[in-house]
Symmetry: C2
Subunit: 265 residues, 2 copies
């Protein structure tokens, strides 16, 4: 048993879709969320930059006394997770592995992946999937604008619809079994993506598979909390954003997010 909080690191508001799933599946766990809004978006940055920024974020969370860390950002997971797991002893989990495991245990073998430019360029998803699952057919597509579009709150208007249409036009004719949303902003476009691709393709929200996995991991390491009511703390590196609005809309419970603290890193 361990009542210390879980730390979550993200490049902005995208990780809130992961937070939502983690809260739902782990209602006893305190969470400290750190969004590096000052340097958002990570998608277009180099591997070297992303490793440095992720390390800064993890150092901050460790100083706050967390028992485990979730990297709730597709770009940071694909570019920096391996490096971070070499540096730190604390359990650090990214958003790729749990989904790889989920697909491995399914019969889905024709997979599409959409993510930021950085994530796609790193081939992190492809490598992780192919290492675990032979004979997998993978098609990837970088969607650079979807994360900024989500930050603008445009997740259901005509611009979002046309952008989704443009980005998915090469994937649509393929016989895909599933599409991985490889950036944590993308669950915000789930409705539009479903409409564009039809109901036969499963849309995989990496936050859901991760939320289940973190519970299993904490249990295995005897780190589960037994708190009756969980506390949530939110830090941003730049507070002048629409974080609270997006968070309240997404988490659908205004009491969970009352104030944002400034992380001066």
């Amino acid at each position: 048993m361990d009542n210390r909080p879980i730390g979550m690191f993200d490049s902005g508001v995208g990780g809130l879709t992961v937070l939502k799933e983690v809260m739902k599946k782990n209602p006893n766990e305190d969470i400290i969320y750190l969004g590096d809004s000052k340097r958002f978006p990570y998608g277009s940055k180099s591997k070297e930059s992303i490793i440095q920024l992720t390390k800064n974020g993890i150092d901050f969370l460790i100083q706050k006394g967390v028992k485990a860390i979730i990297i709730a950002c597709g770009t940071a997971t694909s570019q920096a997770l391996e490096e971070m797991q070499k540096i730190y002893k604390i359990p650090i989990m990214g958003i790729i592995e749990p989904t790889v495991e989920y697909i491995k245990n399914s019969n889905k073998r024709n997979i599409g992946i959409i993510a930021t430019t950085g994530t796609i360029r790193s081939r992190g998803w492809e490598r992780a999937l192919k290492e675990q699952i032979p004979n997998l057919q993978i098609t990837s597509k970088a969607c650079a604008l979807l994360a900024p579009m989500a930050e603008e709150g445009w997740t259901a208007n005509i611009v979002a619809k046309e952008a989704i249409h443009e980005y998915l036009k090469d994937l649509k004719p393929l016989p895909l079994d599933a599409l991985i949303l490889g950036c944590t902003h993308y669950p915000l476009f789930e409705e539009l993506i479903k409409k564009e691709l039809g109901e036969n393709i499963e849309i995989i929200n990496t936050g859901t598979t991760l939320a289940i996995k973190i519970q299993e991991e904490l249990k295995k390491r005897n780190l589960l909390s037994n708190k009756k009511e969980a506390n949530y703390q939110f830090y941003l590196t730049d507070v002048e954003t629409n974080f609270i609005q997006v968070a309240q809309k997404l988490l659908q419970d205004q009491n969970k997010i009352e104030k944002i603290l400034l992380a001066n890193i």
Copy 2:
């Protein structure tokens, strides 16, 4: 006479529209261009962050021996120019003042401004215009997605068209004389903007007014170059971008940009 280069600072590729105009009007001047691509975009960052990042950029250019500095970024001009002019003795010019002067000397008094969230929020354009020109009618609109859209190369497709339509729908019914493109990425959308607003509204490219002004300033201070052929150097803080493609397309002369150097700041 002074053959040292002019330094140009921008947050990414947007300043290339300014560079293009400065090159055209000042063909004898060497230019060192620094794009802070690692931290792009500035539009959503706080004033404090933007001041710090701009200062880092200017320090870098001064070490390279420039004789004057152009801040070729709307957000950095509106948030950090005043501060920079207090700190440094070297002439530093932003993209706001020359356009204010241009409007002052015209009969245009009903002005629209589009820019990033940071620029609009700072009210830098409004303050600068109203200080110089009384009885001005100003309408501002933040267009957070246009800069990332330009970086994606989407400046003429259906997504760009719908985004422009969405952003300009409140400005379109107004009796505007001119629309200031308050972000240096926006000249890339000039065709779409003209189509959306019609031919009666003058679209003001701040790069053009600045390119004329810098020539006047250099002349006044006896800093003009007498070189026969100008040299151009390009630095980025993160080199893995589509900078060269955008630059070659925009400057329409591949010889002007051969390689990108890494500015390790």
